[in-house]
Structure formats: structure tokens, C-alpha cells
């Protein structure tokens, strides 16, 4: 095992959150925290932000405009055919297609964004610090260098709530 970091392993969410808060008070941010389910205090505490919702919104706006203009172009400029006396630019009909096609495109684009940004794709070899992090353990990975003078204190915080592995 690479010894540049220590693992704090906890049995439940409360211990993890308490330990996490105390470690942060010492001015040390763990490298990464592994949990079997999302813990909001940690997600907020780690200070990462995701802009995936904004990305999705802008995909939506652009795709919707794009599709609506494509439909208008195809049906009323490129090759206008008379279907049952409907106007070439059948706006109410186009709305329906636009909604669904936009939804489809947002999904595909957002999934791609997610895969790329989180580097999650088929066949990826995961970097597993602790086998039970996806099962029933909450694992905190702390870089030894970042601990500096606080090593003792942090070790004792972790052992107070869980154990070091």
C-alpha cells in the first residue's frame, strides 16, 4: 500500500460527518471521501461544485432553438408541402416535437458530460482505496503531507470516531 496517505474508516454517517468537521477545523481537507451513498455535509464540505445542471440548461436552450428553427426551415422554407390545409409553419405542432427532441438531446449530452467530467465509462479500472467503501464503510483519505503538524491531532480525531487503516 502506498504510504503517502492515511485512511480513516468509519461505521456510520454521523461519525464520518463529525470527524470530517473536526478535521476540517484543523485546516486539513481530506484528499477524497468515499461513501456508500451521498452524504450532503461531505459534498458541501469538500468544496467541489458541479455545473452539470447549468450545462444541461444551456444544452436545452440551444437544442430547443436549434430544433425549432430546423423544423421551421424544413417545413416552410426547404420543402413546403401542403398537408391537409395546415399552414406550412405549423407552430403548435412543432412545439410538440421540439419538447421531446430537446429532452432527448439534453439527456444524451448531459450523460456524455457526466461521463467525461467524472471519468466514468465502461471498462475503466477503478482506484479502490478501501473495498468496503461501496458497501458499509465511510472512508476518508487524507494526504500525509497536508497534515503537517496536525498529524497527532488528526489521528486522534479519527480514532475517536472510527479507526485508521
Amino acid at each position: 500500500m502506498n504510504k503517502d496517505y492515511i485512511l480513516g474508516v468509519f461505521k456510520d454517517e454521523e461519525s464520518l460527518v463529525s470527524a470530517f468537521d473536526k478535521v476540517k477545523e484543523k485546516g486539513v481537507l481530506p484528499l477524497e471521501v468515499y461513501t456508500p451513498y451521498p452524504v450532503h455535509e461531505i459534498l458541501e464540505g469538500m468544496g467541489n461544485k458541479t455545473r452539470i445542471t447549468y450545462a444541461a440548461f444551456f444544452y436545452g436552450v440551444f437544442v430547443a432553438i436549434g430544433i425549432l428553427s430546423f423544423l421551421t426551415y424544413a417545413a416552410s422554407i426547404s420543402w413546403s408541402l401542403n398537408y391537409g390545409g395546415k399552414p406550412f409553419n405549423s407552430f403548435p405542432s412543432f412545439i410538440v416535437v421540439t419538447i421531446v427532441a430537446t429532452i432527448l438531446s439534453i439527456t444524451i449530452l448531459t450523460l456524455l458530460t457526466f461521463s467525461i467530467r467524472s471519468k466514468i465509462f465502461p471498462g475503466k479500472v477503478p482506484e479502490i482505496y478501501h473495498e468496503r467503501a461501496t458497501d458499509d464503510r465511510f472512508v476518508m483519505v487524507i494526504d500525509k503531507k497536508s497534515m503537517g503538524a496536525n498529524t497527532e491531532a488528526i489521528n486522534s480525531i479519527i480514532t475517536e470516531y472510527g479507526e485508521i487503516e
Binding site: 461513501t35 456508500p36 451513498y37 450523460l111 457526466f114 471519468k119 479500472v125
Partner: protein
């Protein structure tokens, strides 16, 4: 703060997180039971019958079916709408209950979503096969034609349908799949055998459960959830426009879009109930899918059943109120009393009357009653589609074209085939995929603890 005294426990048996994973994954690691092989065999035989029916249809023509010049859509479209309605449950379950913050959904939504994917797949076969020339289905793509700019007709509800169903199939599948990533990772990390580790490792896409991943995962679920909510409503609304934009009596009515959506959710929830009762019985998941889970689904069903009843009555009332002779004929002389009156009343009784039994707690707590009623609702919803598709067509404007319709065995065989496909799909799901969302269940497990004042709600949003 979650008041488990009033709300009931989400998981019984005070399980640790490790126990939750192990018990849910157990069927995947355990030896395959004999009944499973038997059931798959039944499913495959049914699928074979369907395959032969499709073969006959493809080689000889749609004439093999019972449809005719007047009733040009028959069982195929009925079954299509029926399946796609069932296919709405999964997404509706996850999304609407998420929005209403119903925590009990976590135990059921995985199964519901799996059902969705299989059902939508079954559904998509019907519009394809009911085409006269299915090998030319690609004409429906809006690609610039090689001989000039001939686009498709964007006004056509069938084109909307095509877009909507492909979107729905893709989105429900990815919503389901991406929700399973953490659970696949759990299997990968707890599996003993090398093969399982590798296979589920590939399925897990390298998931580790780091905070960064969870953060984006939550963002993704939020986006997909929000989108899927709109999608569920719009897909079935679009299916309803297959009927509602026409000028046929009984089809052209403005209530159809919401009415179809509600009906879809109704039939979907009923199918979820059927499936979950079976799943509970076969795999001993009673601790996760508790009696109060079943109870909650039943109560939702009462509510939707009332909406359905109101919609039926609205339609009948409006048919009279409209004063249009066609509408009046359609409802009072054709649907309520005509040739297909049995189908109408079967629909009415099984959708609007029988589910009212769920008002009684005794009914909601008896599993066999719940199971039987859920089946009745499924059948009732099938009759609803029959009532819409066939009854309206068989008696339209000019009496000279009135005709009756009855299916041939080829159509029935096709339907049986999709049933077989569904059974097989669901069985594969039971066998190879964690049938309850492990990570979501873990995230709500803490609410059952006695002292949970300090815990915050962790909704996936």
C-alpha cells in the same frame, strides 16, 4: 426529521448497512433456483409463439390480422398503448414520488424502472410491426432525401410518437442504468468470484463512491429526474395525440392527453404492484418492501382510480352536453350499450370501481387480494385501450362503413410473444441485477433509528 412512529418504518429488522447490501445482492450470488429456469422456459416459449406470429405477419402481410378497412388499428395498437402505459410506471414512480418526497419509493423504484425498460421495448415492437412495410420504417427519420429535400411530416402524431418513444426508451434505460452504477460497484467489491468481479466491474464503469462522483451523480440524477418528469407526461400525451388529433368521434377530445397520462400511471402502478408482490414472495424481500410499502402503493391507486372514474364520467357527461349527435351516439348507443358494451363496462368496473376496495385496510394488507386487484386493473386498462381504439373506429360517421373487429390468432400470438419477452426480461433482472436500489435504501436506512434529530434529509436532488 423523520417521524418513524407516525410514518412507519422504511426497513424492518434493524439492519446494518452491510446487511442491506448482502441481503439484496443475495439472489445474484446464490445458486439459481429451479423455478427460475422453468419460468424462463415458459417465457421463451411464449416469445417463440410471438416470433412465429411476427414471421407470418412479415411474410404474408397485415391481412393475417383481424383488422379491416374500417377498424384499421386493432390489437397491435391496443397493446402498444397498454405496454407503453405500463412503461410509464418506472419513471413516474421514481420521479413523481421523488418530487412528493415519498421516501418509501426507494425500495421499489429499481424494479419499477426495470419494468419500464422492458415494457417500453415490448411496446416499441408494435408500431414497427403494424406498419404495412416495416422494412421501410427508416422513412420516418427526418434525413435529407437523396433525391431532393423531402422531409417527413412534422405535423404527424406518428412522427411525434417515433421521437417520443425513442427518447423514452433511451432515457428510461439510461436513468435506470446510471442509477445502478453504485450498486454494481458494490457487487464488484463484495463478490468473491473473479468472473463476477470483472463482469460487474465493467458494468460499474469504474465507480468508487468518491465525493466528486457523488456530487456529479446527484447533479445528473437531478437533471435526468427533472427531464424525465416532463418526458413521462409528454410521451404519453403524444401517444394520446395519436387519437386526439384525429377527427374520429370518441378520439377527438381535449381531455385525452392528461387522461392518458393518468391512465398510464394507473396501469403502471398496478403492474409495479403485481411485480413487487411476486418479488417479495419469491425472494423474501419483506424487510425492504414492507407491508406499508404495499399499502402506500394501494393508496396511490385509490387516488388515481378516482381520477380515472372522474375522467370517464366527464367524457360521458361532455358527450351529452356537447349536443353533437355523433358524440351522443358514440357514448350512449355504442360504448355504453353497443356491440362492445362488455369491454366498456369491464373497463369501468375494473378501473373505477374495484380499486375502491383499497379504502379498506384489510384489503390492502392481504397480499393475495392486492395481487388479484392489481391484475384486474391491468386487464381493465387493457380494456380501456380496446374501448378507445376499436369502439370508436367500428362505428364512425357514415353507417355504410361500420364494421366489427375481432382479432386473429396471429395478433394474439404477437401479444403473447411480448408477454413472454416481458417475463423473460423481468426474470433476467431478478437474477442478474440488484432488484432494490442499494445505495438509495442505505441513505434512508438511518431514518428508522430512534434518535435521528441531528440527521438531515438526504434526498437525491
Amino acid at each position: 426529521m423523520y417521524n418513524s412512529e407516525v410514518r412507519g418504518r422504511l426497513i424492518t429488522g434493524d439492519k446494518s448497512l452491510g446487511q442491506i447490501s448482502r441481503e439484496i445482492i443475495a439472489p445474484i450470488h446464490a445458486k439459481t433456483p429451479v423455478w427460475w429456469y422453468f419460468a424462463v422456459l415458459v417465457g421463451l416459449i411464449m416469445f417463440g409463439i410471438g416470433g412465429y406470429s411476427i414471421f407470418l405477419t412479415l411474410t404474408k402481410g397485415i391481412g393475417m390480422w383481424g383488422v379491416n378497412n374500417t377498424v384499421a388499428w386493432g390489437w397491435a395498437i391496443i397493446n402498444f398503448v397498454w405496454w407503453i402505459g405500463i412503461g410509464h410506471a418506472g419513471t413516474a414512480f421514481s420521479i413523481f414520488l421523488l418530487i412528493l418526497r415519498q421516501k418509501w419509493r426507494t425500495a421499489i423504484n429499481r424494479a419499477a424502472e426495470a419494468m419500464t425498460v422492458v415494457a417500453v421495448f415490448c411496446a416499441s415492437l408494435f408500431p414497427l410491426m403494424h406498419m404495412g412495410r416495416p422494412w421501410l420504417f427508416f422513412y420516418i427519420f427526418p434525413y435529407p432525401n437523396t433525391r431532393g429535400p423531402l422531409w417527413v411530416n412534422f405535423n404527424s402524431p406518428l412522427f411525434w410518437d417515433f421521437v417520443a418513444i425513442s427518447a423514452y426508451l433511451l432515457i428510461s434505460a439510461s436513468f435506470w442504468y446510471f442509477g445502478m452504477l453504485p450498486d454494481f460497484a458494490t457487487i464488484r467489491d463484495t463478490a468473491k468470484s473473479k468472473i463476477k468481479k470483472t463482469v460487474y466491474g465493467i458494468f460499474a464503469f469504474g465507480w468508487t463512491g468518491s465525493s466528486r462522483e457523488w456530487l456529479r451523480f446527484e447533479g445528473l440524477s437531478f437533471v435526468l429526474g427533472g427531464i424525465a418528469a416532463v418526458l413521462v407526461v409528454s410521451v404519453h400525451s403524444i401517444v394520446s395525440t395519436d387519437f386526439a388529433v384525429s377527427v374520429e368521434v370518441g378520439w377527438h377530445t381535449t381531455i385525452f392527453p392528461p387522461y392518458f397520462v393518468v391512465g398510464a400511471i394507473f396501469s403502471g402502478f398496478a403492474m409495479v404492484l403485481t411485480l413487487v408482490v411476486i418479488m417479495r414472495g419469491l425472494y423474501k424481500m419483506n424487510d425492504f418492501i414492507t407491508d406499508s410499502h404495499i399499502d402506500a402503493v394501494c393508496r396511490v391507486l385509490i387516488f388515481i382510480s378516482l381520477i380515472m372514474g372522474t375522467a370517464y364520467l366527464t367524457e360521458i357527461f361532455m358527450a351529452w352536453y356537447s349536443g353533437s349527435q355523433y358524440e351522443i351516439y358514440m357514448f350512449f348507443h355504442n360504448r355504453l350499450t353497443g356491440e362492445y358494451a362488455f369491454q366498456f363496462w369491464a373497463m369501468f368496473v375494473s378501473n373505477a370501481v374495484i380499486p375502491q376496495l383499497f379504502w379498506f385496510k384489510g384489503m390492502r394488507r392481504r397480499m393475495w387480494v392486492v395481487f388479484v386487484i392489481s391484475i384486474i386493473i391491468n386487464i381493465g386498462m387493457w380494456f380501456e385501450r380496446f374501448n378507445i381504439v376499436v369502439t370508436s373506429l367500428s362505428r364512425d360517421y357514415l353507417p355504410s362503413t361500420w364494421a366489427s373487429y375481432s382479432p386473429t390468432w396471429v395478433e394474439i400470438g404477437f401479444f403473447v410473444g411480448t408477454l413472454g419477452m416481458f417475463i423473460t426480461g423481468v426474470l433476467l433482472f431478478f437474477r442478474f441485477v440488484p432488484m432494490i436500489a442499494i445505495s438509495e435504501l442505505k441513505s434512508v436506512a438511518k431514518f428508522d433509528k430512534q434518535r435521528n434529530e441531528n440527521l438531515k434529509h438526504n434526498d437525491h436532488e
